[in-house]
Amino acid sequence: MKFLSKLKAGLTKTKKSIVERVETALINRKIDASAIEEIEDILVTSDIGATTTAEIISLLKKRVLAGEIRDLSGVKTYLRAEMASLLDKPQPLVLSGKSPFVILTVGVNGVGKTTTIGKLAARFIHEGNTVMLTAADTFRAAAIEQLEIWADRTGAGIVKHHSGSDPAAVAFDAVEAAKHRGIDVVIVDTAGRLHTKNQLMEGLKKIKRVIEKSIPDAPQEVLLVVDATTGQNALMQAQAFNEAVDITGIALTKLDGTAKGGIIFAIKKKFDIPVRLIGIGEGVDDLKDFNPGDFIEALFE
């Protein structure tokens, strides 16, 4: 499977960090207290989070004490099963219902919202849909220009006002235009904002409200873009954005670095928001549907 190998390549760093390190730590060793502590450290370094790690470890301890896990392969089987159950079934982003299908992308500054949108547009157009991009990041200098370049590259339409104008008005215009022109997918780019800024979060709510005003079911997807290098703060981000605009899915970007992306385990566990997409490279094709099975497979092979 070509896709699987690409994912594996993208995740080699992740694999190295969790699985190989467990292997090196445990090879020819009894599973004793200090070995378990090492596993604990390894999980923590993967950004899985201290709490989730503690739970996995306390169960591991019990099973070791009960004599059910005795060696390295036992530990690997246990970790694989435990982490797979945390991630659940694949829940990709599927276009459904009446068009236009509206995707509202949100997230803190610098996570890769605009790039993700560009890649997403390329993919929908490749699948035969018409796509309209919406330049509702009217704050950051040259954000509109950046989205325009993506529109040119992918052949998507774009609705924009000038820099500094009301983002909600741009979103409303785009959705209205898409309705009239029979566009299939509208992707709304919003300004990056820290989840701690109440006023900016209010602005985001307003964007969502005006979209709802134009199409009652929309936005069908509210996509939180999360940078894989983010640590435990991603939980605070998920919480705040979820409270403001009800997140329906997550796109995890920059998984091609050395970041382990372990934060998705914690997010899934705490908020039950599925990871829809992962970014594993800079190329247009490097945005993939997230498949928990493949992800774990790539980790544990």
Binding site: T45, A141, K197, T229, G231
Partner: protein, 441 residues
Amino acid sequence: MFESLSNKLDSIFKKLKGKGLLKEEDIDVALKEIRLALLEADVNFKVVKDFVQHVKEKAIGKDVMDSISPGQQVIKIVHDELCEMLGSTNTKIQLAPNPPTIIMMVGLHGSGKTTTAAKLGRFFKKEGRKPMLVAADLQRPAAIDQLIALGKQIDIPVFYSKEAKDPKSLCEDALKRARLDGRNILILDTAGRLHIDEGLMNELSQIKAKVNPKEVLLVADAMTGQDAVNMAEGFNDQIGIDGIILTKVDSDARGGAALSIRKVTGRPIKFIGVGEKIEMLEPFHPGRIADRILGKGDVLTLIEQAQESFDQKEAEKLHKKIKADNFTFEDLRDQLKKIRGMGSLKNLLSMIPGMGAAIKDVNIDEKEFVKIESIINSMTHEEKRNRHIINGSRRRRIAMGSGTTVADVNRLIKQHLEMKKMMKMLKKGDSKKGFRLPKVM
């Protein structure tokens, strides 16, 4: 940043303080909790291990255990270790003996290099230097446009070429240009890249070799997790960095990245980015941050921010006005504007010792300021100077004009009156002390 870590440590310390005698177990329990707090704050696990080890070695020594307040002693040890981890003093950007001083910004995608380059430019301009920005990010769509737009905002020239393919030669050209134009600070905004991307890392080394920057600054996101260490080591080993600028510090990140990066690279954090606005870049003072983490507040930074916003002459003018009982609505508006220029009110309050925990969940409505400003703006010149003439119909007009209600206008007038009363009282006491800002350093 740091609030949550600070709250956790605070509660751990409370338990320690209450104990007259400390046993080794007490210290173990506290250290376990400190370890967890640091891990949850995204401090790298190796750094945490060292930290806990050091604190323990120092804390179980006889001097501490036998002292009158062992709890306090342990807290002091933690404080000292934190300071040690963060570095001891503020490290300024070094200037080249022969201008221009070249500063090269490097970092991952989305860490905030372009915005920070502009903020740094503004910082130097304010110091009276002549900076020039160089748009050497030829990768990200519209990165050049972004720097041009920011340059325009702060009135600093931007060197760019939309046809350029090679950032090396672009930077060389920029250097020639800076010499010709007499710009003494040259800030290179390079493209974001992964520390494991050999090709792009080589490109950075080549730029560095060609223009020989005085400072290579790693721009890092404060919200980075455990990977911060790999990233920082990657850039430091391959390019060699002289300092760090930590961005998005106004988030609720617990600051682990700051502690880890500094520790593994041994390079100082020189600045922190504390907001989207272009003036929101602060020199980094490790000792003060350690104090902030331990809940002691950061009054010095507050005073510096105040000094930047209020200049001494204006303060004296205001002082005279207050003496003459002549504090008008216009003065009130100007003062509010200046306070807002210092950053968000919550940010300011959190620097006051003991306020951090107290205002954690308080939402301060910054819109109130806008309301007050628009009410004052809707007054005529006369009204601004003489509140006595503001009768019922004037109040209605002002409310209409500012999009507020008569009740809002009434409240403002009352507040203004009360402020004047307070100022009168200050005047009776030592009036000079009241409104002069202390000089710092």
